[in-house]
Symmetry: C2
Subunit: 434 residues, 2 copies
């Protein structure tokens, strides 16, 4: 096989065989096929798309470019959740220990974020001592002991994706459904899971701006997963306003602990419970959605879920006392409230502006080697539909520099709209495609 003939075939809109994709992706992984041929191929895929069969083959090949975690020794159902990401999305931190209490194993290999705030790994690293770089053996050991573990991508996991993701980022080939799907699914399925639940977000603070695009991505992810023999579920959720009342790193971990303690905000709990219930249904732990929700609520009320989180943190080297004493997290030197300029109802909280504010505060990265400030961010975020009087606190900024505070404040001013009447929020969960 000749690499540029395979590029030509895709360029002309033909379907590539699994054999051709294996040749191309494996060649790219070993370096036999150079970056410049892969980027031309990625651009051809951007324009011509891929059939579901092709996307499944691409995913399969990328997944097998490295190791697949052997979870067979756990002897219980393995299930994970993947979110396409959004502002204030700390669901993984709550859902992993919560689902683990119900009798499934959650081998979660997560990422870091660019832009708005850090990713799940960055958030967890705001817990002093928490290690995200476990070996595969340590990972399995934590899973065996407490049923959940959240770590970073290892060197041997889907190396084709690691290489291709970096290349797509600088060649304008990120927004391609088959490439997105293969990237997400190759990494997730390399965790050795039986089932996967997807949280595909749409709106101002999400990668997919329209609900239709989110549906298309969700359908493709679910179909590809099923073709690979996995039980799949997906929710389409709203990301026009941030999820929960905090955005940042340490601030989000604190909010997650609040949720696990039964004091979480409604929207965040609704999404977390729906996704967790889906995981239990897919794994066969519960028969009905009502049963699943019931079990999940009991695990929070009994304190079991929070204990499971403590156990995971401890097993991964983190300072468990931070869970009970939030002062142990890094604190921002400047804390300033944002006040409502007039009375009325919160009509909108633009997740994009909130995300940018977090970015300028230093909660996220602009380049992969930037250092994140885990202390900064936003708390006390008002929610759409909240009744406010003039001068009420609608957000609290946590900053470490005056200039960053000023720049973040400019975004905050644009983020909130206040209306005379309560116009109601967009439904949080749009539609389940289980």
């Amino acid at each position: 096989m000749v690499p540029h003939w395979i590029i030509e075939k895709k360029r002309d809109g033909a379907e590539l065989s699994e054999k051709e994709l294996r040749f191309f992706i494996n060649g790219y992984t070993t370096g036999d096929i150079p970056d410049y041929q892969m980027s031309a191929m990625a651009m051809a895929i951007y324009f011509q798309g891929m059939s579901l069969d092709e996307t499944a083959s691409l995913t399969q090949v990328m997944m097998h470019s490295g190791d697949v975690v052997d979870t067979s020794s756990l002897a219980i159902p393995t299930v994970d959740k993947h979110s396409t990401g959004g502002v204030g999305d700390k669901v993984s931190l709550i859902l992993a220990p919560l689902a683990a209490c119900c009798g499934v194993a959650v081998p979660m290999i997560s990422g870091r974020g660019l832009g708005i705030t850090g990713g799940t790994l960055d958030k967890l690293e705001s817990i002093p001592g928490y290690r995200t770089n476990l070996s595969e053996l340590e990972f399995i050991e934590v899973l065996r002991t407490c049923g959940c573990s959240i770590i970073g991508q290892t060197e041997t996991l889907a190396p084709a994706d690691k290489k291709l993701y970096a290349l797509r980022d600088v060649t304008a080939t990120v927004p391609s459904i088959p490439l997105i799907v293969a990237s997400i699914m190759s990494k997730k399925l390399a965790e050795g899971i039986d089932s996967l639940v997807l949280d595909v977000k749409w709106g101002k603070g999400a990668f997919m701006k329209s609900k239709d695009d989110a549906h298309e991505l969700a359908r493709t992810l679910v179909e590809v997963g099923r073709r690979m023999g996995k039980r799949m579920g997906a929710l389409i959720t709203d990301m026009n306003q941030p999820l929960g009342k905090t955005a940042g790193n340490a601030l989000e971990v604190i909010e997650a602990v609040e949720c696990l303690s039964g004091r979480g905000p409604d929207d965040l709990m609704e999404v977390t419970m729906a996704l967790s219930a889906n995981m239990l249904l897919l794994s066969g732990c519960c028969e009905t959605h009502v049963d699943a929700l019931d079990m999940l609520h009991r695990k929070i009320e009994s304190g079991e879920a929070l204990d499971r989180f403590r156990k995971m943190v401890s097993l991964q080297g983190g300072d468990v006392s931070a869970v009970d004493d939030y002062e142990r997290f890094a604190q921002a030197s400047i804390v300033q409230d944002v006040l409502a300029p007039e009375g009325g109802y919160i009509g909108g909280v633009d997740a994009n502006h909130i995300g940018r504010a977090c970015g300028v505060l230093g909660a996220g990265r602009q380049k992969t080697d930037d250092v994140i400030d885990v202390a900064v961010g936003i708390s006390n975020l008002a929610k759409v539909g909240d009744r406010v009087n003039q001068g009420d606190v609608i957000a609290t900024l946590h900053a470490n520099h005056d200039e960053a505070l000023k720049a973040a404040m400019e975004h905050l001013v644009c983020a909130f709209s206040i209306t005379e009447k309560d116009e109601g929020a967009i439904p949080l969960i749009d539609k389940s495609i289980l």
Copy 2:
């Protein structure tokens, strides 16, 4: 400016500014922009195309990626011809000295070929001693002395094109009109010419298989050249059957000498005269096409054109005696006639099969570092419309290996079709867009 934002802009179908193209191409030439971004950009251009303004800007930027030959000291009009290439196309060898006799300078910087036969440079190098690698100073000196010079691309001439051309070859981004146009025109206009005549070929032995595609390419080439302040002309010519009666390297030089001596085959002379006349009209040397043809015919009849060829060969170090004694060219060890299997009229001579036969004989390259055998090829090619009896010679193969001869013969058998009635040939020159 950020390279991947410029790729994104093109990917989304927007028009790139000259500033953006300059940044991108200059960055690519110096190596600041890597191959993988250039190949993604080339694929985006393949799918989205480019406006005439964009193509002209791209050409301008690629042309100025290196030196432009300073022909101002010649003080006569400078004009060249470019052909998109075909089987048996030795027009440049005849046209350059012929036009030079009429008072124009022809600073021809030519290429080598892949596949079928060598390019103009390879053909000229079959003349013992002929040097194609003159310095710019030597080039100008030959032009000053005899009005024409044919050399190879120097290191400093359109280096962006040199790099991009090699990249396109291995990333399935060759057949893109704006990229083809920028490649051709950046090199040709770097010759420092006032006018350019194009021979855009279509048919079985050409890059453009359909006449419509050839027209589109010709129109774009002419428009881009005009936007760059050049006088432009173009002919669309047939390349379904080979041009002239020979294909190879030494064999084609011999045929060119025959043409310059007034003994050339009709089709080859028709195209050469039409293109040369166009050059004289564009340069203002003649007022009408009839005047131009008249002048050209006289230059051949008087022997002046052949003398000019001798002079160029001599100035570039070639053995002039080869012009009068064809035995001085390398000779193939096996010469074998191909006979008509039945009587009738030649209905078709498939230029693609003739080209492939030359390729297997060793007249062309499969890889850039292959060594060409200048002695091999095909002569005595029958032309469409020729009346033949069974057993008449319809071609003569010149080979240096029995196996190559056998493989070439298989192509020859497929190349010729013989019909009962004379169905006439496709008009050689389709339409002039001057």
